[in-house]
Point group: D2
Chain length 338, copies 4
């Protein structure tokens, strides 16, 4: 039986190939991949071949938002059984360094992360991965929802990095998938109110349908006089979004920067210091999957409205370019097993 994968031999090209699949050893597990969400990072690797210091310099399989069903387990696997439906955490830390033991394994220098060069990702029919990356999902949760526990984890971690407290007034800038999920997380963690801003009416519409207040980005000039938020979750990566958002923070405000602008960011820190703002940078997440699954399974977060398009494995290139081809889109899901 073949094991088809969407291989990117070099950036800009996708070829569906049969790739080897060996018996799992040690604590490895074979997961039949049911759904893979397309992330902006996948699109960047496909269209320009790099993200910051990570450069594609050989064939790679993309995709790291994923879920599936376990079809084989290695001899030392303890916590997972064949047949289990699982969400997959894409990063595997060394479990040995100072960062790992300090509780921040996501910053491990030796982290192996799906679809981050040189490591292959999940756009394959069967994926081999350590059992410790797997989290069993309830029967009621779809594979698509389980795959989206990955961007949802970004939202959870952003709220944690921002020190979100119950009752906080939250502003989310950027209504893409991560922004929409971060907004839902903020609400699910007790935020008093959540305002979502973006330049896209399509995306603001999805935010409004989910019950959020919305604001067209750019309507309020950056500067003092409009402080209405305790927490800012910057999820757009737009060059001026962080500075603009920081102006909206109240005294003691906390900001988490999730979106990554392409250039250096200029900030009026000497004017913002009177408010004693705290700005936290965000690099993925740690310890979030159980929370993500609980929030989705209980309905406190609804990932359904994010999925606007679905693709077969052969249509991977179309999926990777969805955002530029169809601006009124949100999240593409690829179904490697049809």
């Amino acid at each position: 039986m073949p094991n088809l994968a969407a291989v990117m031999p070099e950036f800009g090209t996708i070829e569906v190939r049969d790739v080897p699949l060996s018996e799992p050893t040690g604590r490895d597990v074979v997961v039949n991949v049911k759904a893979v969400g397309v992330c902006g990072s996948d699109t960047a690797y496909y269209t320009v071949g790099y993200i910051g210091d990570w450069v594609v310099d050989g064939p790679i399989i993309l995709g790291h938002e994923t879920a599936g069903q376990v079809v084989a387990i290695g001899p030392d696997v303890e916590s997972i059984a064949v047949g289990d439906r699982v969400a997959i955490e894409p990063g595997t830390p060394c479990r040995d360094c100072e960062d790992c033991l300090a509780g921040r394994y996501h910053l491990c220098a030796d982290l192996e992360f799906l679809a981050t060069p040189p490591y292959d990702g999940a756009l394959v029919q069967n994926l081999v991965i350590d059992e410790r990356n797997l989290f069993v999902i309830p029967d009621s949760m779809s594979y698509e929802a389980a795959a989206l526990c990955e961007p949802l984890s970004v939202g959870i971690w952003a709220c944690r990095r921002a020190g979100l407290q119950p009752g906080d007034r939250v502003r989310v800038t950027g209504a893409g998938p991560v922004g929409i999920l971060a907004a839902q997380v903020a609400r699910a963690l007790g935020a008093a109110d959540v305002v979502v801003s973006d330049i896209s009416d399509f995306r603001l519409g999805i935010a409004a349908d989910l019950g959020f207040q919305t604001e067209k980005a750019g309507e309020v000039e950056p500067g003092p006089g409009h402080e209405d938020a305790d927490v800012l979750l910057e999820c757009s990566g737009a060059p001026d979004a962080l500075a603009t958002g920081l102006w909206r923070l109240r005294n003691g405000g906390r900001a988490a920067m999730v979106g990554l602008p392409k250039q250096d960011v200029s900030l009026p820190l000497s004017r913002l210091n009177v408010k004693e703002i705290t700005l936290s940078l965000v690099n993925r997440y740690a310890h979030t999957w159980p929370t993500a699954i609980a929030l989705v399974a209980s309905g406190r977060v609804d990932v359904g409205p994010l999925v606007t398009h679905r693709f077969a494995l052969e249509e991977t290139a179309d999926a990777l370019t969805l955002a530029s081809r169809i601006p009124d889109s949100m999240k593409a899901i690829i179904l490697p097993n049809g």
Copy 2:
């Protein structure tokens, strides 16, 4: 126009009397009281005349869970207008001591608290209170729900004292009004799952109807081997409940003690220390009303199932003895203006 109040001349007696109502001065406001929840402390003052070191030694008006509509304002009032529908925070701190300035005004030695001797409470048709104790509620929120923002605040603060984090597995012991509200708060703040235990099948039924897992108190012997919670919210005040609940905590577990047992508590601390448990005592709340209103207004907390009985002001004595007369009851609401 009379201003009727349910006065307790001495414990065990309630008389409805017309009490003076003067024009509001300074930042004081007159609130037409629409709903007053009966708390266990009201019942204790009525039945035995004291709670710990607080002793009733003169006529007093009970009731501190309350909401109403503003009918007059003092000359210096800035934030409140006649006609506003408001939830009322019952404690007024000095705003001058070390505790107040440190952010814990609820521990102010000079706190004046409704229905705590020698201060009168809210079982009156019109209540005079400082505008800073008032929080405007949205039109969609009932006065009963607004009154229950007080016990809800206890639940919010218990979660905060316990250091509740998203994804925590939470055990609530005691399914009375505070326990049910604390459980709902834990869920609304991102708890992964919440188990409620009690000895009353009636109360466990209400918990189950609200979607919680339930456990009959006493079914699991205290001792090691059943650790399944990250957070314990002890809301029963039963003598052994705290020790029993602490055994259920996992490594790094955190407990908040809300219920107040009548005697000293014996705890196996030398055996629990291997888990590095943190135990936080709880004394009411601070800074919670905006959060409480947001959680109720958005439907994330449902106070409706708590209200099992309603009473007119003349029936105050019946309301105060409801729990002992009708075990299958939960929360009594008194309607001073009918």
Copy 3:
């Protein structure tokens, strides 16, 4: 008996004048001012007439780092007696707003702060101030040391804002008075090691004499590869110091920005995010005087080496321009009572 003050009628001019001194009322106290430290903000008001949005638009008395002896008390004073030797906290909050009650009175919108327009400062022989701004010092502490509890408070608060933990490796950029004090505080709070950098060999020499490792600013190019600190305390205000310092932080590093650059700050946040840095802005301090006094009184912080020059009240203009006239200087102290 005259009450001489160094009045600045307009920026660039100082005149010693006799100013009125009335009997203290309420909780006010009259302090005979023994020592006033000159801060960079005093110098800025004197040389250019403004700092950011604070503009001098009338006669003002400068000086906010101060200590003295109580010579008279108002009728409602409770905690202070005539003869007390006191350090003075220069900010008086409203004690009524959300910020004050939340424990961050230093961000109070109505804060009245010595020598911040339009409020007069401490360059006067006798200062009237609320008793709650006073902290009695032990006999062993000099008035100069007590006056320097103000910049020391900046250092304490910077460490708190940076979330300094015992064992942290700390980098302090800028070896002016605040930098030297912040470095001493970091060591006094358990930092494993503290490195101080500056461009001035004179200032690095003072840091070295106090036992700190030193590094000439600019010796290490900004960029990855030199991460050696858990905490950055940026105390120079130099335009590039923050970015340069952030590169030196390790994973999970925390930075507090104390120095205020004159322009917007450009930061490579997208490259720093892999380390999940937290950047905290700093606006003075809160709740720090007892700590400052304890650290100085016990010898854990030594403010002595900071004081390089002393001036009489008539020499105030010289004191205010010391830094530009004599680069190899540190802190000027003015002695209003000779």
Copy 4:
């Protein structure tokens, strides 16, 4: 060359035997043991054969406070070289479980800890241990001081568990080695003042010599009216010490329980709750060695006054019974290599 060890074949007996010493493999290192501090747990295993659930049921080598010099390294050792002088952390976690990855490896269910049954300890001339348990000490630090980094770590962790903040007023109950070290740590981390209490005048004398205020235990009756501490570090294990100490805490006070009483502890929690005390249990420490070494190396903590008696390996039984034989003693050090 023999490798002598003080073996305890069964409780109450010590025999010096030659034990096998193999070549180190993997990341193991051979340390020539220079100093071993005697802990109360060693004494308990020797005199009664158990501590709580840990029971000696076969020959065991005691001793876990230790330091030495590296004499051989395994083939995979990266961070340690022959000749290194090292302090030794006695616990080896699995580095794989939820607790390890959450940053609390000290609570790992599979922790292997020196001298805790069934694992042998350090009373041997040459000890084989993983390099990750070793911390290189500066030349200026003695091996005795390095060995005492273990009880010092308990003090560091107690302060961390108590949430010690700069400026806190600290009460330490119990002036044994851990209490004295905890008091020194509290001071080294910025405590405003530290009071040490005990029943032993000898031990209070050592505390006084180190500059602490002292108080004879029992002089103040438990009960309200004497609140003078923000933090309690209970290090005595005396049955009533915790309750007595909790009464001394002020509003918002935090207590860490380090001493382990033999019975359950009875606490007046319903009366203490008005102060909103937080009580944290303590189980050893995590991540503390770098801090311990820095505090000792810089002179901020002085372990010298603790060492009152020294013993050769053959005198191990005398060392283990020192406390009962000579009440005016503090810490026994055993020198396995003479």
